[in-house]
Amino acid sequence: MIEDDFYRSSSQFRFWSYTETSLRSLRATTNAIASERVQSALRKSRGAQRSATSSAAGTPAPNHTGSDADSKAGGEETEIECLTPEEEHQLVRYFCEQIIELGEMYKPPLPTIVRATAIQYLRRFYLTNSPMTYHPKSIMLCALFLATKTDNYYLSLRQFTEVIPGDTTSEDIIRPEYLVMQSLRFTFDIRHPFRGLEGAIMELQAIAQGIGQPAPHFPTQTPEDLKRKLHALHPSPTASSTTDRLARAHHNTREILKSAAQMTDAYFLYTPSQIWLSAFMLADRPLAEFYLDTKLGGPPADPQQQGNPLSELRTKLLRTLTGCSNLLQAYTPLASDPDQKKNLRRIRKKLFHCQNPEKADLAGQKRIPAAAAAAVAAAADPATSESEMERLAKKRKLEGKQPRDIFGGELVTQRTKE
């Protein structure tokens, strides 16, 4: 179909569309790399620390460098338990939900589309980065600010920061911007399903009013026919009139698009048109099927009949739409699911121990003047310097005793209070 070629040229299709298998293996690879690096970085910093303590005690350490021999010597220590890909995914989803919440705090609230864009940025970011390397709390804020810029809803960084709870500074927010953009592979355009839904609703309203246009492949349709068929649909149990029915379907579909479509892998696995139509099917299946039939014709009279490209497309499409609907339907918000919440708390605790100390200060070097950056990049390439790591490791140990208010905790407590 001609319309499809518009989507095929999008960066979303070219760079960010995956099969379930390829998505899973990509996440597994990302997780594997990050785990390996976390293990080795923590081994190194522990070694460094031990040698530091032992030298402080006055006994010369047998190995005073964080070498391989040292890490072998530290074999009695337990391996650090890293997050699994599934746990990482859960965590990212939690921060996606936080973006929705955070958007509400602005006055006026950030537009749905800005929040949705930020969520997709965050999801894309964590396809090739692990939360163990870069903590989502900071990436999330940066993604949201970037989304305000790319979606033409511009706030100054200062305005943006004022609303953020806690002691987050503007600098904290903007620091990982470059890293985020690089991970997004400099593709900023997100194709959302929202606008498509509006188009369909407008067309259905036109049909309801008897001014519907025949679809290009069905030139014999008349506005009257279309209108009659729409009004003759199996009545919806909740809506009193067709207009009412359309309004409800519209609203419910939009709610699904704002939540389930954002929090699942829908954007990676399906196209925006398939997503809104799947959501529409969940909201009002007879209406959605009616609409699809006006475009592709009804089910073939003879199922055995082959060769009609439109009915073949319809069959295939229905299969895909069902798959997408199931994905959307399976979503339950964290807030409404105590088990998930408990699980999440466990994951965050776990993350606290397997956060990569090398990157804890996250892209710390990311927003420094170019000249200095080059030097730092050169110096920091294989690994951050030993002393730097030691420092970070100590800092983490200290923090470990007095857990700092990690961003997001506030929101959770707020909600639980409610």
């Binding site: 499809d4 040229s9 790399i33 390996e36 970011f125 810029k149 511009y154 400099f186 355009d189």
Partner: protein, 396 residues
């Protein structure tokens, strides 16, 4: 589903295919544990490095406050040249990457058309700079041709250039992207004479209702009256006015309406095309920055005779087309599709074949400079607008 007759015809199809393969290659690399484990860096970094290593930077072509442009080539094929536009990190801009860089990257990533400059890749270099790998367009721009007295061209050439420009703009509008900075020096010329729309630093998507857009866009001489009057909701018609001004300039070889301030621009537009009134442009008096015309000095709306007299080279049909692009009321102005459907394209003379168009050969430096110019002002919501200054005399 092979129903689409467009897919095979689309001139961009092959481009897309190439990009697609590149993209997939990267993704495949990502899936290959062999490669990932051997390097042991974050996947995101690896992907970026893969792109970066595809190119080799050669000599510097130009430098501006906003960017440095290098000539470069593919590592595997030194004969395939590219321009690498390295956007300088602006230390003073505290809000991160500037809006014009974001816009340029965002929209060029989505557009693939023979009359729009191709963005092959984007990567970040070690020093945290943004590098745009662009199509290399060595033959300068339309402004150079207009100003070069040694270059002679005629109606057939102008027709070919405007045709390519209109096609590029039509494609942007088909994808719901406004360019908002069409002017002769943003129209670059390729090896084969093809005109390419460049500099998307002011571009944005359009058509959504109730969204305010800034009116401080488009270089003054090419800015339509609705923007001069401060309209915050507008349409593709703004770009069409600019095409009309480029068209007129190509014919006259001098900017047609060249005001030296926004106010001056309004009065010059009125003088040239007629004074806007509620009759010829309903609602115009309600536009935010509308200035009532001097009652004693109103110019009637110019008709066909005016355009025929002013632009005899274009011929009567060409003058007709130009007039349709210069309608004061944006709703009456031609759309890009209507421009391309005009009968001028089919009247004599036939548009010159792109290979035979007059050109300059020493445009290399120009591309360098052309791309380093700073995009327009920052955003739609800040208060201090700094309109882009157009200064032909300052020298590029």
């Amino acid at each position: 589903m092979a129903v689409s007759p467009l897919s095979s015809l689309s001139p961009s199809a092959s481009d897309t295919a190439v990009k697609l393969t590149c993209a997939v290659n990267l993704q495949d690399n990502a899936h290959s544990p062999l490669i990932t484990h051997s390097t042991g860096r974050e996947l995101a970094e690896q992907l970026n490095d893969d792109v970066r290593h595809k190119y080799i930077k050669d000599k510097k072509l130009g430098e501006g406050t906003y960017a440095v442009v290098y000539l470069g080539h593919l590592r595997v094929d030194p004969s395939s040249l590219v321009a690498i536009k390295k956007i300088k990190v602006n230390a003073e801009y505290k809000d991160g990457l500037s809006m014009d860089a974001i816009r340029e990257v965002k929209y060029l990533q989505e557009l693939s058309h023979p009359n729009i400059i191709a963005l092959h890749d984007v990567f970040s270099s070690k020093d945290q700079n943004l590098n745009l790998v662009l199509e290399y367009l060595p033959h300068g721009d339309l402004e150079m041709l207009i100003k070069d007295g040694n270059v002679h061209y005629g109606a057939a050439d102008v027709k070919a250039w405007i045709g390519m420009l209109a096609r590029g703009v039509w494609f942007c509008h088909e994808n719901f992207i406004l360019h908002r900075d069409i002017k002769p020096n943003n129209l670059l010329i390729a090896f084969d004479g093809e005109v390419k729309l460049a500099d998307f630093g002011l571009a944005r998507s359009f058509a959504d209702p109730y969204l305010n857009m800034t009116h401080q866009v488009i270089t003054r001489w090419y800015r339509p009256p609705e923007l001069l009057y401060g309209a915050r909701q507008y349409s593709g018609a703004v770009d069409i006015w600019s095409i009309g001004m480029v068209f007129a300039e190509l014919l006259l070889r001098v900017p047609f309406v060249a005001g030296n301030s926004d106010l001056d621009q309004i009065s010059k537009v009125c003088e040239a095309f007629g004074t806007p009134t509620e009759d010829n442009w309903p609602g115009v008096t309600r536009l935010p920055n509308y200035i009532p015309a001097d009652k004693n000095h109103t110019v009637p709306i110019q008709g066909r005779e005016f355009f025929l007299r002013q632009f005899p080279t274009a011929g009567p049909v060409g003058a007709d087309l130009l007039m349709s692009m210069c309608m004061l009321d944006p709703r009456k102005r031609s759309t890009a599709r209507q421009v391309l459907q005009h009968k001028w394209w089919f009247t004599e003379p036939k548009p010159t074949e792109k290979e035979n168009l007059p050109r300059k050969s020493d445009g290399t430096q120009k591309m360098g400079n052309g791309l380093t110019r700073k995009g327009g002002e920052i955003d739609d919501y800040t208060f201090k607008y700094t309109a882009r200054q157009l200064d032909f005399n300052a020298g590029e």
